[in-house]
């Protein structure tokens, strides 16, 4: 006979107000196998736990049921207490009489009855529990960072400084991301390149960091501590080791029709190009769609001119395979396509996005920092900024969320204009100004109070080009005044959005995304940098709109989690994994198809069939990969696969007890 102890918690009045705990105790005493039952005000408190330990000891209990809150909350607490009292932690069961009972009922009689039923089910289950021992897995002491923007760079530097190896995989030819394109950063107006470039160089020089630029994550398998990742290194056609960065090739390349991605299409670049002056690594790539030699076999000028013999037209994509203990996803964001907003005439050259504006004010940009109209190179007199273009937009044209960064960068842009050219008129149309960061509101008010930027609360309805002007039709909702501004330039603060390939990456990583395709954190408040998949963390705007300070903070947080993980010599497994009864397994392998974590493969075994040796295929579970979801157990027709801690017998016993 088992000796089960039942502990009924009041949870203050949380449970006791709706459940007659004394009666639950009395009923529990009558349940088969129960040797002891008691109630206490707060079982999770130190006194409660100590009481449990003492009783286990005194009454020689071998199993425990705690009727309390959700196991999510305190299962670990009670398992630990039981372990300290000398019994295997998996011999503890929780009956959830709070979330699933007292919180959802008002009637005390009904509540009590249900609490008794739930307790009876837990007692029935625990009777069949067996001791489980978690396995151990090794940890590969190396991290992978997906994305080489400020988020990825910061995470990489922090992890590398802690002494672990880090690889950054970046899709474009250089690290730096969107921040590299910015001119100044709010709210301090320090030059973006000045604060970013040193970090880029640090990342490149750090002995613990390896950069894989112009590379993509191709396939990911494995599990926390042991991820196996295939990385595709796209053919660069330039030998990274030989190239000295002299730039003869990029200057002499005759194909100059491609739009520079870094300059937001405001400038052309060659077929062989370095994305921007401070690019890291400072080695060009050849764009296969643009290179005359790769398309027609002619030209080859760069190859002839290169003093270091670095051009290699026979370069091929290469796939490398690496092992990692942890992964940080820092893949960044994009801005929406403005073609759906016909009323704003984005196809007009003088209607630009904020990112294009950054390039136009940047001293290294296409106009060398002079603020000029793209259409005719003239200096504008009136500039209109429109915020929330596509943000907070519930229709299919936009994004329902607030893009978070536009209020601040628009204030920055208008201020930069007024600072350089006080004679230019600047208007900002806004719905609400949202500036909750440190020194943010002061910054935005400075645009209004010190620089005289005209803020108008109201949206622009339409823009009509008229001669050299852009007629901007808006409304000041506060005064009810309708306005038409004859602007020379219009800057649209377009909504941010998740990267277009986020879904692709999500599938590779087996993590989840929200309805807007941003990656989801494990818990919005308490686990903001973790994903639901162990060992995979999030940093920066791939999780949702974020400014630079927030991105950097989250990146360091993700790095801290990674360091904590890599610092462990062994990881403890969840022992509630599935196990195959090889004598029952028919080898149909239906379970392998069903398992969402690829945890089941097969193996060949030899069995003794009445003295005859025969070979047979059976399912084989990788305990490190199994999440214990139980999908396989219901798929298996002969019932050969069962989940430890949740066996068919245990579940049936619970159901029986509830139907009692």
């Amino acid at each position: 006979m088992r000796k089960i102890g039942v502990f009924v918690c009041w949870c203050g009045s949380n449970i006791a107000a709706t459940v007659d705990v004394k009666q639950v105790v009395e009923e529990a005493k009558k349940m088969p196998g129960v040797a002891y039952a008691a109630d206490y005000q707060y079982m999770c408190s130190e006194i409660g736990q100590n009481m449990m330990k003492e009783v286990i000891d005194k009454h020689n209990l071998d199993r425990v049921v705690v009727a309390a809150c959700s196991p999510r909350m305190h299962e670990n607490t009670f398992r630990r207490a039981a372990e300290e009292a000398g019994i295997n932690p998996y011999l503890v069961e929780i009956a959830n009489i709070r979330e699933q009972c007292s919180w959802v009922h008002k009637d005390k009689e009904a509540g009590t009855e249900k609490a008794i039923a739930l307790t009876r089910a837990a007692v029935a289950k625990v009777t069949l529990n067996s001791e489980l021992v978690p396995g151990e897995i090794d940890v590969v002491k190396k991290a992978l960072i997906i994305g080489g923007g400020i988020a990825g760079i910061q995470s990489a530097l922090d992890i590398a400084d802690a002494g672990y190896k880090v690889d950054i995989v970046e899709k474009t030819p250089s690290i730096g991301g969107k921040m590299a394109q910015l001119d100044k950063t709010f709210p301090t107006l320090d030059c973006s390149a000045c604060i970013l470039t040193p970090k880029m160089v640090d990342a490149a020089k750090h002995p613990n960091i390896t950069l894989h630029t112009y590379s993509e994550v191709e396939k990911i398998s494995g599990y926390v501590g042991n991820f196996n990742v295939q990385i595709k290194k796209k053919a660069r056609y330039v030998d990274m080791d030989k190239c000295t960065g002299c730039r003869i090739c990029t200057e002499k390349c005759p194909s100059k029709k491609a739009k520079s991605e870094f300059e937001e299409g405001l400038k052309n670049r060659g077929a062989v190009y370095i994305p921007f002056a401070q690019a890291v690594p400072n080695v060009p790539v050849i764009d296969t769609d643009e290179c005359i030699k790769l398309k027609t076999g002619k030209c080859g000028l760069c190859e002839k001119l290169c003093p270091s013999n670095a051009i290699k037209f026979d370069d091929k994509d290469e796939i490398i395979t690496e092992e990692y203990g942890a992964i940080v996803v820092a893949s960044g964001y994009d801005i929406i396509d403005l073609n759906k907003f016909g009323e704003y005439q984005y196809d007009h050259p003088d209607v630009i996005t904020s990112l294009e504006f950054e390039r136009i004010t940047n001293a290294a940009g296409p106009t060398n920092g002079k603020f000029l109209r793209p259409s005719d190179g003239e200096k504008p007199k009136k500039v209109v900024f429109i915020q929330c273009v596509g943000s907070r937009d519930k229709t299919e044209r936009g994004k329902s969320y607030c893009s978070k960064i536009c209020c601040m960068y628009t204030a920055k842009h208008s201020m930069l204009i007024k600072e350089k050219y006080p004679d230019i008129e600047a208007y900002v149309f806004y719905i609400d100004v949202r500036t909750p960061g440190k020194n943010f509101d002061e910054f935005q008010r400075r645009a209004v109070e010190k620089y005289g930027v005209q803020y108008i609360k109201g949206m622009v309805g339409k823009i009509f080009p008229e001669g050299k002007k852009l007629m901007v039709h808006g409304v000041d909702t506060m005064s009810g005044e309708t306005l038409v501004i004859d602007a020379d330039m219009v800057v649209l603060a377009a909504a941010t959005k998740a990267k277009s390939d986020a879904i692709d990456l999500k599938r590779k990583l087996n993590i989840s995304t929200d309805i807007n395709n941003f990656f989801t954190e494990a818990h919005p408040k308490l686990r903001p940098v973790e994903t639901a998949s162990a060992g995979i963390y999030l940093a920066g705007a791939c999780q949702g709109p974020k400014d630079i300070p927030e991105t950097v903070a989250q990146s360091s947080a993700a790095a801290a989690k990674v360091i904590g993980l890599l610092n462990k010599s062994k990881l403890v497994n969840n022992p509630c994994v599935s196990a195959v009864d090889e004598s029952l397994c028919s080898g149909c392998l239906a379970c392998t198809e069903m398992c969402p974590y690829d945890a089941i493969s097969y193996k060949n075994i030899e069995i003794d069939d009445h003295g005859k040796k025969i070979k047979k295929v059976v399912a084989d579970v990788n305990e490190a990969l199994c999440h214990g979801c139980g999908g396989c157990t219901v798929t298996c027709r002969p019932g050969a696969i069962d989940l430890k801690g949740f066996t068919n017998k245990q579940i049936l016993a619970e159901v029986d007890a509830i139907c009692h």
Partner: protein, 137 residues
Amino acid sequence: MTRTKIIPDKYEKDILQIKKISNEMINDCMQCGKCTAGCPAITEMDILPHQILRHLQLGQFDKVIQSKTIWSCASCFTCAARCPRGVDLAKLMEAIRLINLRQKGNDRLKVQNIGQLMTDQKMPQQAVVSALRKYSK
């Protein structure tokens, strides 16, 4: 100085009816004014389109029903097409007009009576069209 209560209870029924007829979410509007900024008829309006919506949010049915705006609205649906919150203001305008027609009792139009009504300069054409569509038998 007269003060009006911002949200008068007495119009609760009318506002409910507007919601029912139009099936639009009045509270989705965040008062961005984009409807007004793109509306081709504002010069003829006494209350701007976004203000009509604000009055509806505040339950001030009397203001909207008495406005010139509901008759100046050309039902061009520009506001509806551009509203970032997906509020169809043109539908709301139509609902207000409908209620007006019903309350005035002009809701049993016969085709043969239209000619006579059209000569009455005070009756906007729109009212005739609306009334016809909804109530002529």
